[in-house]
């Protein structure tokens, strides 16, 4: 640990100690304010743990908070208080796991509505249960606990949530979530198990929220479902986290402090217009502060660091037949995109997959890389059937790809884009080793000077290079290049062809979907031609390109006649 990091750490401990001592120095009013600040800090930070990097806007905060509060309301006289808090956290984690398992594949508005619905559903079920079985509207909590104790517990939770967030941010899980937030398809193709990553974070976040609900419950003394499952809590947490900046661990607290103070003043002086002002704050954030306060601060202090290190790369060589397709078929409704296609690719070979537009080339790649599942036939990689595997497992087995329409993770640096490829493969690299390797790979594709530039700012050719570096990071045995050379000018094309050539020298097997005939002639050992979903020719480029059926497919029967 450097001296600077050490002093920062000491300052943090001092800060927490000062906050912990606060109840001795202030009166009850300010202590109450401190409890609000601490509870919203835990809630907003826990919310952002999951929603910040993945960009899934969750409105389930009220659901998990209410679960915690109700756990306290039913168990306070049966178990010691800390045990109930721990139990509430476990309950939240359990519910999040069950719910998440079935619903985390929902995206965008579906997820928003679902999480909101979840809170309402649990709210309704609890009310229904209480009126029908316990015949009460609400419950009383006569727990002997002071405001100071509640404050200290919340402070403890806050320290815990920050520590967990800090550890996650430095782990491969944190990177996985950022990749998911940027592009979920890419995430799967760098071998990230997206479901597990999302599920873990959703559950951790829910656990903290439920624990907060349990700690806060005794403050009300009387609790009913409308208080415990108040949807306003969900909304306020979203606003606070977004105002502060949900993408950074310290972001939410920058939103919590001003908003809790403003709400306090507003509800004391203008209780009527509280909601209106809340709404206006919301609009201001959306229109003027899309990255929150934390983003604003970072833009002020923006600076880039460069790194010049590089190292030679060697990609492993594999012997024997590598990939086989047997009678593979894929239909979209009535359109048969891939019709009974069989082909084999030997290790070390460069195979050109060519054919007119709409002939099924990209669909074939999508079937191999697991984006789509075939309707029939079999796909074998190194003798193993991979047709039923999800993308991330196929990637882990050693098949990497680029996309016809480039998919880089625009908001992450070039370095992080490549690290994403290194961190989730079968033999993962992390930390300094991953950094070194990523720099070497960037150097290899000619991007060394752009290491710390956000990928979204690259030119088209550089984005293609970056995508290739990310694919190579997986140390694949088979590389699928989907029109990787398309749209390049003649000089860039030369560079591109040389690069692919050098990959072959390293022993990589490559499938090249391409329209650029020069590239096909100079690179491919063999070409497979597709037309209307069928394989119509298979052989060396020179033979195939003069084949009658191929010329007819490209130019039409009349032109050939």
């Amino acid at each position: 640990m450097t001296a600077k990091a050490l002093s920062g750490f000491a300052a943090l401990i001092l800060g927490v100690a000062l906050l912990a001592a606060a109840p001795f120095a202030v009166n009850d009013y300010y202590l109450g304010l401190g409890v609000d600040l601490a509870s919203y800090t835990v809630l907003a930070t826990a919310w952002a743990l999951f929603s910040g990097p993945t960009r899934y806007i969750s409105l389930a905060t009220a659901a998990f908070f209410g679960i915690g509060a109700y756990a306290m309301a039913t168990l306070w006289d049966k178990l010691p208080e800390p045990a109930v808090v721990a139990l509430a956290a476990l309950l939240g984690v359990g519910v999040a796991l069950i719910v998440g398992l079935s619903t985390l594949r929902l995206r965008g508005v579906y997820f928003v509505i679902f999480t909101f619905g979840l809170a309402e559903l649990i709210h309704q079920l609890v009310s229904w249960h209480e009126t029908n079985f316990t015949h009460t509207v609400g419950r009383y909590i006569y727990l002997d606990i002071s405001s100071s104790q509640i404050y200290w517990q919340l402070l403890g939770l806050a320290v815990l949530v920050f520590s967990v967030g800090w550890l996650i941010g430095r782990s491969r899980l944190g990177l996985a979530l950022r990749v998911i937030g940027d592009d979920e398809v890419v995430a799967r193709h760098v071998a990230i198990n997206t479901t597990t990553a999302k599920l873990v974070l959703f559950a951790v976040s829910a656990g903290f929220i439920s624990a907060t609900g349990a700690v806060m419950a005794p403050r009300w003394t009387y609790i009913d479902p409308n208080i415990a499952f108040n949807p306003l809590v969900s909304f306020q947490v979203v606003i606070m986290a977004l105002l502060g900046g949900a993408g950074r661990l310290h972001g939410p607290i920058l939103g919590v402090v001003p908003l809790v103070l403003v709400s306090e003043v507003l509800s004391a002086h203008f209780p009527q217009s509280f909601l209106i002002i809340l709404g206006i704050v919301f609009l201001v954030i959306v229109y003027f502060l899309p990255d929150g306060v934390a983003g604003l601060i970072e833009r002020w202090r923006a600076g880039t660091r460069r790194s010049e290190r590089s190292r030679a790369v060697n990609v492993p060589f594999a012997g024997g037949a590598l990939l086989e397709l047997h009678n593979v078929r894929k239909a979209f409704g009535g359109l048969v995109a891939v019709d009974d296609v069989s082909l084999a690719i030997a290790a070390g070979e460069i195979l050109g997959l060519i054919g007119p537009n709409g002939s099924g080339k990209t669909t074939a790649l999508n079937l191999i890389s697991g984006v789509l599942r075939s309707d029939g036939g079999e796909i074998r990689f190194k003798g193993r059937s991979i047709g039923a595997l999800p993308s991330h497992e196929i990637a882990r087995l050693g098949i990497a790809r680029t996309f016809q329409l480039v998919r880089v993770l625009g908001s992450m640096s070039c370095l992080d884009n490549v690290v994403a490829g290194l961190a989730f493969r079968a033999d993962p690299l992390w930390g300094e080793a991953a950094r070194e390797r990523a720099v070497a790979l960037l150097d290899r594709v000619g991007l060394a000077p752009r290491t710390n530039v956000p990928a979204g700012q690259l030119t088209y050719i550089d984005q293609k290079r970056l995508e290739l570096a990310r694919a190579l990071a997986l140390e694949p045995e088979l590389l699928l290049l989907d029109e990787w050379l398309a749209g390049l000018n003649p000089r860039e094309l030369g560079v591109g062809i040389d690069l692919v050539q050098s990959l072959r020298k390293d022993g990589l097997t490559i499938v090249l979907v391409e329209h650029v005939m020069d590239a096909i002639r100079s690179l491919c050992d063999r070409c497979v031609v597709m037309n209307a979903g069928r394989k119509i020719a298979d052989g060396p480029p020179a033979t195939v390109l003069t084949d009658d059926a191929v010329i007819t497919a490209y130019l039409g029967a009349a032109a050939h006649a």
């Binding site: 079935s102 979840l118 309704q124 009310s127 979203v238 217009s273 909601l275 709404g279 919301f282």
Partner: protein, 291 residues
Amino acid sequence: MVAFDIVLSGVILGGTYALIALGLTLQYGVARIMNLAYGELLIAAAFGAYWLFVAKAVSPLTGLIVVIPVAFALNWLIYRFLLTPLVRRAKSRDALEADSILATFGMLFIVQGGLLVAFGGQYYSDRFLQSAVIILGDTVEANKLVTAAFAIVASLGLYLALTHTRAGTAIRAVAVAPGSARLVGIDVERLSAFAFALGGALSAAGGVLVSMSLLFSATSGVLFTMKALIIAIMGGAGNLLGSLVAGLILGIAEIAVARLIDPGLTIAINFVLFLAVLLIRPAGLFGRAAA
């Protein structure tokens, strides 16, 4: 008899739901705005009709003539000045969705706060046309019948207009492929604003109907947004016929649960249905699966 009663009441309730969901379908499917303030604007219209009825003695049905054009204009202005900047800055459909969710959240609070200041938190209803009508031995309040009839006629009229007119075809083209619609000479921005405003006008009509037949308060908007969203998604986002059918299904399901099990569980059945549809057919009852 119970079955007939449930279906009749269910269709009456579901008709209003369908109308409300159609407006949201237009806004989401065509203008690509996920409008979470939708129910708030609906409740604002309900209060508008209530005020006209109580203070000016204008019947809610006449009130529609005032409320609908006002709502159309207001929604057009919202789209033009508050949402167009978001549409222009959005890099992808996902980004626009996230931004519009957040922006309309803000509007939700502003409208709801305004209504709370003006009307307070208590429940209202017009008590208009409450005389009983007997259908096949079943008693129904006249206002509910009028509501259902209006909702069903308006929904079908809209459906026919969209499927059989030139403007309707253009709107459907924008819903399917905004990028390509531009290529055949459709002014996507103008049409999106029109669709958003039309959706808002439908929700206002729904609001007036709600004021006639149901209890409402300044804070019940969220409930209507939820129902409209659930129906729109159940029917398949952007699918008009799907919304109609899903609205009727939801109405019948709610009444059935209230009569047969427990009135306290009507909202629960909303979410159970919604979840079931999302998990079994994520693209909605009539939606096509994404490629």
